[in-house]
Structures are given as structure tokens and as C-alpha cells.
């Protein structure tokens, strides 16, 4: 049905897998497809929780720099509309009434980290690598990364991540509050599904920290 996304639905839990091996990079088609899919699943009342992850070893390497800059500078309106739509897509996850869980593994950088940050919970495999390399390419986040980060970290950490552009492993990310729980990589999806199952009874977004303490530790 989709070329860049694998969509599964079992026991009221939806699983969105980014599917552009090897690193599930986010090309234009992905952004169109995730836009359409997000609209479909977030209005489907049978879907009580959502897990976002990647096929294979990685979550996603984010948008490819050449892809990002492949527009006609003379017609910047089209590019502008496209990027605003992408940002609104990620916002749908952030503002969703149902719990949205990122299951992070391998590489999760740039726009992929923005997608993970737009989720309400983040569980990570122990091999995960995260970061915002945009500034090193004279760019910045464009899909809400700066906004979602602000709910979790102080300005100092936001500056360090967004300007410094360092890649960090998931233990560092956990210390900064960006990851809620690290698990063994072969247990990632099982743990994420179990967590989702625990959340779907009377889910209340204000109990985020309680859910993490009770169901992830």
C-alpha cells in the first residue's frame, strides 16, 4: 500500500515502520505517505496507541541533505508549502489524543530525531545514536525539533544539541531526558508493544511520568 512505510495493526495498537532500507532515510515520497497515513490512523477510533519505528537495524537517518536542497530556488513557495506540511504531519503525532511511542534503534538523527521527539514516549534499543546535525550543514531543524525539545530540556541543552550538532548514544540521551527507557535491541518492539498495551486503558497524557515509572521500570 505504501512504498516507504510498513503499516500494521493488531489488538488496537498500530505500528508504523519506516521502510526505506538500509537506513530508512526520509525522502519526499515518505513525507507524502506519512502525511496521508497519519491522517488515516489518527482518525480511526480502533487505533488506541501508536508505535513508530524503523525496519531493520535503524530507526531512520532523517532527510537526505541532497533531497532537502533539491528544489528550484526560484520557486521557493513550493518548498515552503512542502516543509510546512511536513511539520504539521509531525505535529499530528504530538497533539494526538492516543499515546504515540517512538521505538528508537540504530541511527535516529536530523528529521528522524524530530519525528521521535514529536512522540509522547521514547523507548530506545541500546545501540541507538541520536543527534541534530543540521547546523553542520548550515541548516536547522524544520519539523518541530526545537519546539519538542523545549518541553524536555533547558536552553543550554537545546543549544548544545542544535548548534553543536553532536551525535550522542542513547545513554547520554537518557540522561538528558530525551529517552524514557533503554532496552536490549532484540526486545525493543516487544517492550514497546507491551508498554502500549498498558497505556490503552484510560490513557491520560498528564500521567506521563507515572506510566514511565510503573510500566517501564
Amino acid at each position: 500500500m505504501y512504498k516507504t512505510i510498513n503499516w500494521r495493526f493488531e489488538d488496537n495498537i498500530g505500528i508504523v515502520e519506516l521502510n526505506s532500507p538500509p537506513a530508512n532515510s526520509m525522502n519526499k515520497l515518505f513525507f507524502y505517505e506519512i502525511h496521508e497515513l497519519s491522517d488515516r490512523i489518527l482518525t480511526d477510533e480502533r487505533v488506541k496507541a501508536l508505535i513508530i519505528t524503523g525496519i531493520g537495524r535503524h530507526f531512520s537517518s532523517g532527510a537526505d541533505i541532497n533531497d532537502l536542497l533539491a528544489f528550484d530556488p526560484g520557486n521557493s513557495h513550493a518548498a515552503n508549502d512542502f516543509y510546512i506540511a511536513n511539520s504539521q504531519t509531525f505535529k499530528r503525532f504530538y497533539t494526538a489524543k492516543i499515546p504515540v511511542i517512538a521505538a528508537v534503534k540504530g541511527v535516529c538523527i536530523g528529521s528522524a530525531m524530530e519525528l521521535a521527539m514529536s512522540c509522547h514516549f521514547r523507548i530506545a534499543a541500546d545501540n541507538g545514536i541520536m543527534g541534530f546535525p543540521e547546523a553542520s550543514y548550515n541548516l536547522m531543524t524544520g519539523c518541530g525539533g526545537s519546539v519538542y525539545l523545549s518541553g524536555i530540556t533547558d536552553k543550554k541543552t537545546s543549544i548544545e544539541l542544535m548548534l553543536g550538532g553532536y551525535n550522542m548514544n542513547v545513554s547520554e540521551a537518557e540522561q538528558l531526558g530525551l529517552i524514557d527507557k533503554i532496552v536490549k535491541k532484540n526486545e525493543l518492539i516487544v517492550k514497546a508493544v507491551n508498554f502500549a498495551k498498558n497505556l490503552i486503558q484510560n490513557y491520560n497524557p498528564e500521567l506521563r511520568n507515572y506510566y514511565i515509572r510503573k510500566f517501564l521500570n
Binding site: 516543509y83 548550515n138 531543524t141 533547558d154 536552553k155 548544545e160 548548534l163
Partner: protein, 248 residues
């Protein structure tokens, strides 16, 4: 560079070092530790991509000089306008579009701590000392220090420091998120190095936009902050695309 306002300013490559200069304790001669015009000149210097604030000599700053404060307080209008100016200056510091770091050594008290709390990044030497002693003279911090303490350190830290007036050491200040990192030696050099590493290789416009997005995220409604971020991203992407086209 500038040498008025009771500060000394030196350029260290792409970093401007602003030293509060009224030794030995670096008491603040007025609520605004530097004039807004001079700070603007520094921040708008195309070569300056980051600012480090420290104190000349052995201390960061012991805060307001009570004698001059109470003299000023005899004229309520003058006091009000000076305090508003000082508070506005620190608000301006906290919203600057280049990173601002405090390099703290010695004492960092009252208004000095308010200056530090307005910085995005705070490094300190292990021997440095922190307090809001205002309560001892039946006062409270008046330059935004209360708000910044609550927002950045939480109610517990804010209440215990503001109501007790107690002096805490650097380790405790780190627990309270007043200090982000302790530097065993030469805190000023370490802080400059840290900020330089963040900004040196990046164009000033990229730095400014990233900083603006970080500020927006904390003060604009969700959708506005998102739209502004995308708008700034697009502007940078277009410039980068043009640069690459003309470069190839």
C-alpha cells in the same frame, strides 16, 4: 573594545568576553551592568558569535552595592526606572540570538546571580559561592531572578534560596541547575572554549536562527513556533541551495 559602564570587553576570536569590572567584589554600580547600546554593539558585531560574562579579579559579582541602592531608593521614580532598565537588560541578554555563557568564580550573589541566571549557559569553578541575600535586608531580587530561578531550578530551589538567603557552594548550585558544569581550573578559558566550539564553524545567521527557534519554542504558541521554525529553515535551505549551485 568598549571600556565603560564598569565593564571591560575583550574580543577572543569569535567570542566577546564581558568582564564585570569593579574589583574586588565587583559590586554592581547600577542595576544594568552594561548599557543596552553597548551590549547591542557587541552582539551585532559580525565577528562575534558568542558572549561570555565573567568578573574581573577574584569574583564574579557580589551584586548590588546596598549603600547606593538605598540612596537611589530615596527617589522612587529614579529607582523604578533604573530597576526597569536593569531587568529589561537581563531579559534582553536571555533572548540574545547568540549563545551567552556565564563563567563564574568567587562570589556570585544577588544581582550577580541574577545576571548569571539570565545567561543560557553557566559554568563555575568549584570554589564559587551563590546566594540571594536580598531577604536579609527585607528585599527580593528585582531583575527577574525570582522568575528565572522558578523556571530553571524549580520551586524547591527557588524557595529555599530566596527565603533563607543562605550561601550555597558550587556543588549544590549544580544540583539546583544554577550551574551546568564545574570547571576544575580556569573557568573563564574553559567557558570561552566551550562556546567557541559550538559556534566557531557556523555562519552567524545559522546561529541566530537556531537561537531564535529555541527562544520561540518557549514563548510562542505551538503552531506559531512550528511555523517560524519552518520559515527560518526554508530561508537557510534556499541560501544553502543557491550556495551549492553557484559553488558547483
Amino acid at each position: 573594545m568598549i571600556q565603560s559602564d564598569h565593564v571591560v570587553v575583550e574580543k577572543k576570536g569569535c567570542i566577546a568576553l564581558i568582564k564585570i569590572n569593579n574589583p574586588p567584589q565587583n559590586y554592581l554600580k547600577s542595576p544594568a551592568f552594561i548599557s543596552r547600546e553597548n551590549l547591542l554593539l557587541i552582539a551585532n558585531d559580525p565577528e562575534v558569535k558568542g558572549i561570555v560574562i565573567s568578573g574581573a579579579g577574584r569574583h564574579f559579582s557580589a551584586g548590588a552595592d546596598l549603600k547606593s541602592l538605598f540612596t537611589m531608593a530615596k527617589n522612587s521614580e529614579a529607582l523604578n526606572s533604573e530597576m526597569t532598565e536593569g531587568a529589561g537588560l537581563l531579559e534582553y541578554v536571555s533572548e540574545l540570538n547568540i549563545p551567552v555563557a556565564a563563567a563564574i568564580h568567587g562570589v556570585c550573589l544577588g544581582g550577580g546571580l541574577e545576571i548569571a541566571m539570565s545567561c543560557h549557559i553557566r559554568f563555575a569553578s568549584p570554589g564559587s559561592l551563590f546566594a540571594f541575600p536580598e531577604i536579609n535586608t527585607n528585599l527580593l531580587p528585582g531583575l527577574g531572578g525570582v522568575v528565572r530561578m522558578v523556571n530553571q531550578s524549580g520551586n524547591y530551589a527557588a524557595i529555599s534560596l530566596l527565603l533563607s538567603g543562605d550561601i550555597i557552594d558550587a556543588e549544590k548550585a549544580q544540583k539546583f541547575n544554577i550551574v551546568h558544569q564545574l570547571c576544575e581550573e580556569n573557568v573563564q578559558e574553559q567557558t570561552i572554549k566551550y562556546v567557541r566550539n559550538l559556534v566557531e564553524s557556523k555562519p552567524k545567521k545559522v546561529i541566530a536562527y537556531v537561537m531564535q527557534a529555541i527562544h520561540n519554542a518557549r514563548k510562542l504558541p505551538l503552531n506559531e513556533a512550528l511555523h517560524e521554525e519552518t520559515r527560518m529553515f526554508c530561508e537557510l535551505a534556499i541560501e544553502e541551495a543557491v550556495r551549492r549551485k553557484s559553488g558547483s
